[in-house]
């Protein structure tokens, strides 16, 4: 899971870096650049966190009120 998360985070970083470079070169308009970052920023954040989080843990049933 953590290796998978690292791959997703790196993919997000690479796509974002690529679009930044293309935008600076004038090949990608601002709206497309913004759209890619809007999609990639959450993926990078959650990907990095899932990558470096502590291992272990199993799904549980939280308090459901009954």
């Amino acid at each position: 899971m953590q290796k998978h998360a690292a791959r997703i985070a790196w993919a997000g970083v690479c796509i974002s870096a690529g679009v930044v470079i293309l935008h600076m070169a004038g090949s990608v308009p601002l709206w497309a650049y913004a759209a890619v970052l809007v999609l990639m920023f959450p993926v990078i954040i959650i990907g990095i966190c899932l990558w470096w989080m502590a291992k272990g843990g199993k799904e549980d049933i939280p308090f459901i009120g009954y």
């Binding site: 954040i45 989080m53 799904e59 049933i61 939280p62």
Partner: protein, 282 residues
Amino acid sequence: MIAELVLATVFGLLLLGIHRKVIARIQRRPGPPVWQEILHMLKFSFKSTWVPATASATLFIGVVLVAIGIWTAAFFVVFTGGSLLVVFAIYMLHKIVEHGFGLSSGSPYGKFGGVRSVISAASEIPLFVSVAAIAIFTRSFTLSDIVLYQQVHGPLLFIAFPAAIAMYLVILSKMPSGPFSIVESKELVSGYKTEHFGVWRAGLEVCNGLKTTVLFSTFILVFIGQVPILWMVVGMVLLVISLSFACALTPMLSPFDSVTVQTIVTGLMLCYGTFLYVGGVA
């Protein structure tokens, strides 16, 4: 722009830390250090994380991504001088996201938090009638036009003071420990975010940081105008201090009182907008 996004997130979390510190000092408590919210976010990101057995996994994880994504979009809209209506559409989306957070978890605390989020949306969103008052003066909903208007006529804070109060109330509604923070009321544990722990909560903290920076900078741009970045930072700190006083000195209202107060203000704002429009004040 990624660097700006990260800076905006960290600064927003710092503002929330200042908020907690000021509230604590007013209540004669030492309070946490101002960078506590940043540490909080980092702490949650390191914690072991999973999806509860009772949760809808897709929605449980998806809302975290959507929450960060919508405020990233709002950040772009504000800093490219886009439409104020888009910023408030995103604010409305955030209410739906809060609802999704609560419902996805399968916990009654989360569900009640989600329901309260919808109740509070019914009274917070009409407060955006203040945008109509601004448009009567500036003849535009675009932030860049509103900024240009203020360069000629002076800050809208003085020209359209009631609209500033209504917008201030919208921001106050989103502050933790505020009189209108019914979605995070302690009888609901942590409200809609009760079951989002670990990495999911870290994502939510990132969203909160971005949201704070976006809402505060929107308020300053709309009611004071374009100022140098240092003054923007000073303005945002002063804004958070004033909000902290309001939060520290006011008890949390019950859900129906919260809705009533906000609805009364909306009614007053409608009267103000009608007065401006019919009276041709602008």
